[in-house]
């Protein structure tokens, strides 16, 4: 077996091995048990005191969501103002300009929603002030928001019957002080020691060996990159993200960053098992997700290491795979693995350009984001998966003629309706958005806009369609990666993308938390011989079927028009 493949397999195995103890630790933190990080206690008490928070006061699901939404709204206002004035504010050594209102609208939604879609380029579109006081800040807080909402789900199922889901503030703060901050510090130090810049020095200009003048962007990147990976944010300090040598200096950092992309999301699955004392349930969930994950990895590694058939036809040697949009130090297998990891987890950072992936690899990363629950974003991934569980419980309940229930609570019409709406929302946003954009492109290509629709696409034909489909898919999944050839810093994409990200973030959080609130409040029914067990392999297979049916039915047509058509045309001649 070749070294590139071995590298990928070891990376994945190490991730799982690390996720188990981390999951146990997370369960302990939120159960209030003693951990190694208890030295954070005084800091947390200090924060509670000056913020006027009573950490003991448990909230019902409505109070919990209100607290979460209020602070998120505040960040939106704060960030928008900062961005449209960033050029006039301090800490701008490279003299970068203000963001336009539509770009700022997109950017702030993008970071509040944990998406980190970047219609600007980090080197020229942001200042040190916004990189640190906005992006890095929101990378912590948006990730902590997701984790807090998942812990609410844990709390809802921990007691037999309860209307309390925990204190939002306290869970939110602990997610940062005990999880995201310590992990990010470790990663940032590893990166700094491998050459990622961490100082505040501005752009440098040098004369190269050959005698050319070269500009080199620098800045406090290490810290931001660490939290971007740990919090499934994905927004890079530099434009080309983790493909840039400063963001990802060598194969070792590449492995570490790949682990970081997956680590917290997988650890949270184990945490669920430990917290609810239902390890088997956690294994079934992990098994279903990993089934898809490995399938997708095999597909992408196969196509990327095999190379581009169009280039084979030119008669040159393509021994190390399809290297357009890839870096030598990572190789094609690792870039393929990263592409699946980053789209599984709603991370969205890249170490190679997705626009240049082979058609079916590009299709699979889109499918990965359409499902958006294979590990998923920190916290929100499991919330999304919970929706699939509810639907699977409902369908299998109907099939065997029993009242559907989950963990001792009856699942009734109201919960299933919420789950159905959340599922349908994704399909509506992705396909509706793409259809609208395609319509405008075809019928109003030369509309009198600042950026004409005819200039949107970087590639013609099926691939151009894929660029638009990818953009809405990424926005809807709060992923943030892109087929970056798309001219997305234009009013249409800034505004429509912003709206999609916003709806696709908060409705799929509100929905599951509401379902948990409703279920937890119901009378607990002890397990009996007649209970449909959700921690069985059979139920796992059932969930796989539901995921396949829901996504295949919804997304097969657009995937045929884009990636599948491109793949077939590539092999047709």
């Amino acid at each position: 077996m070749n070294t590139e493949l071995i590298g990928v397999i070891i990376t994945f195995l190490v991730t799982i091995l690390l996720a188990v103890p981390l999951g146990k630790y997370i369960a302990k933190v939120f159960a209030g048990e003693r951990t190694l990080m208890d030295f954070m206690n005084p800091l947390e008490r200090f924060i509670y005191r000056i913020c006027g928070i009573d950490p003991i006061k448990s909230m019902n699901w409505k109070e919990f969501l209100k607290a979460m939404l209020t602070i998120n709204l505040l960040w939106f206002v704060y960030g928008f103002i900062l961005l449209i004035y960033q050029g006039h504010l301090p800490f701008n050594p490279d003299g970068n300009p203000d963001q336009t209102p539509d770009l700022a609208f997109n950017t702030i939604i993008s970071f509040v929603t944990n998406t980190n879609l970047q219609d600007y380029s980090g080197e020229t579109g942001a200042t040190y002030l916004t990189q640190l006081f906005l992006f890095t800040f929101l990378q912590f807080t948006s990730a902590a928001t997701g984790i807090a909402c998942l812990i609410a789900l844990f709390n809802g199922f921990k007691e037999k019957t309860t209307d309390k889901l925990g204190n939002f503030w306290s869970i939110f703060i602990k997610s940062i002080t005990r999880l995201l901050l310590p992990l990010s510090i470790v990663l940032a130090i590893i990166l700094a020691f491998n050459g990622t810049p961490s100082s505040f020095k501005g752009k440098d200009t040098i004369i190269t060996l050959q005698g050319d003048t070269q500009n080199v962007s620098r800045g406090p990147a290490a810290g931001m990159i660490a939290i971007k990976q740990m919090g499934t944010n994905g927004g890079g300090y530099f434009g080309a993200n983790s493909a840039v040598p400063f963001e990802n200096p060598n194969y070792f950092t590449n492995v570490i960053e790949e682990i970081s992309i997956l680590l917290v999301s997988i650890a949270l699955i184990f945490a669920l098992g430990f917290y609810l004392k239902k390890k088997k349930l956690a294994y079934v969930i992990l098994g279903v997700m990993t089934f898809f994950f490995i399938l997708f990895c095999i597909n992408n590694i196969y196509f990327e290491t095999k190379g581009n058939p169009e280039i084979d036809r030119m008669g040159i040697a393509q021994n190390i795979g399809a290297m357009e949009g890839k870096e030598i130090r990572f190789g094609s297998a690792s870039t393929a693995f990263w592409s699946v990891a980053t789209t599984s987890t709603s991370n969205g950072s890249v170490n190679g350009m997705h626009d240049s992936l082979m058609p079916l690899s590009g299709g699979v990363v889109m499918l990965d984001m359409m499902i958006n629950a294979l590990y998923g974003g920190v916290g929100v991934g499991l919330l999304n998966y919970f929706i699939f569980i509810i639907i699977a419980v409902f369908i299998s309940g109907l099939m065997v003629g029993r009242t559907p229930e989950f963990l001792g609570h009856k699942v009734e019409a109201r919960e299933v309706k919420i789950a159905a709406i959340v599922t349908l929302l994704s399909a509506f946003l992705i396909k509706g958005g793409t259809a609208l954009a395609a319509y405008i492109l075809v019928h109003h290509a030369n509309a009198d806009w600042a950026e004409k629709p005819s200039a949107w696409l970087n590639n013609p034909g099926y691939h151009g369609f894929s660029e638009m489909l990818y953009q809405y898919t990424s926005c809807n999944a709060n992923n943030g990666s892109g087929f970056e050839g798309l001219g997305d810093n234009s009013t249409w994409w800034n505004v429509s993308g912003g709206i999609v990200m916003l709806l696709a973030r908060f409705l799929p959080i509100i929905g599951p938390v509401a379902i948990v609130g409703l279920l937890a409040n119901k009378k607990y029914i002890p397990e009996s011989a007649g209970t449909l067990r959700t921690d069985s392999t059979t139920f796992g297979v059932m969930t796989i079927a539901v995921i396949v049916i829901v996504t295949a039915l919804s997304y097969f047509p657009p995937l045929v028009l884009g990636p599948i058509a491109e793949h077939l045309s590539m092999h047709a001649h």
């Binding site: 800040f137 700094a192 020691f193 939290i227 194969y251 357009e324 949009g325 130090r329 491109e566």
Partner: protein
């Protein structure tokens, strides 16, 4: 709603101090301790003069040097980017064909099927500092002729500058182009 606004406001301020001031300053302080650049990015010097950043690739188009991979940004590291060309884009394929033709003109005696694809395709960052060993060796003939050096000597120079897989078994092999070219200049 009011009972949530005040804690939101205060918590935001507190977390700004923690995540946006203390955290990056701490990382910057640790960065100062790192060998090489002290957090500013490590530079490479020849005779005391900075000729580049160790991690950032640079343009080599002169025939007497090992060429770097094509870059969508011409190695201007003020704004990293890939080409974002799709695999079936006809303009892109024409561009690759042109690069192959150019390479053949500059490298007489090389057969088309010896050209590694990575040498005619653009990297993801536009700043790729490396070549695959094959992409370096295919250029040996040209450089040996221009510099009047023995091909064997250049091949072993490439071997010396090849970094193998991580720990010997993980990931690809690579050659840093800048370091290779500096060593090339120093060859007598």
């Amino acid at each position: 709603m009011k009972q949530y606004i005040l804690p939101s406001l205060k918590l935001t301020l507190v977390l700004l101090v923690l995540c946006s001031i203390i955290y990056p300053l701490f990382v910057a302080a640790v960065g100062k301790l790192t060998p090489g650049g002290g957090g500013d990015g490590e530079t490479v010097k020849v005779n005391g003069k900075v000729v580049g950043y160790a991690l950032i690739g640079q343009n080599f188009t002169n025939d007497k040097y090992f060429w770097s991979r094509p870059s969508a940004i011409g190695y201007n590291a003020a704004g990293s980017a890939g080409s974002n060309k799709g695999p079936t884009n006809p303009d892109y394929l024409k561009q690759v064909q042109n690069r192959i033709d150019t390479f053949l003109v500059h490298n007489p005696g090389i057969n088309k099927k010896e050209i590694p694809a990575e040498l005619v395709t653009a990297s993801a960052s536009g700043e790729d500092p490396d070549l695959s060993p094959a992409a370096a060796k295919v250029q040996v003939k040209r450089i040996a002729a221009i510099r009047h050096l023995h091909e064997n000597k250049l091949n072993s120079l490439v071997d010396e500058h090849t970094d193998g897989p991580l720990l010997g078994f993980m990931g690809p092999s690579k050659v840093n182009v800048l370091k290779l070219n500096i060593a090339l200049d120093e060859l007598k």
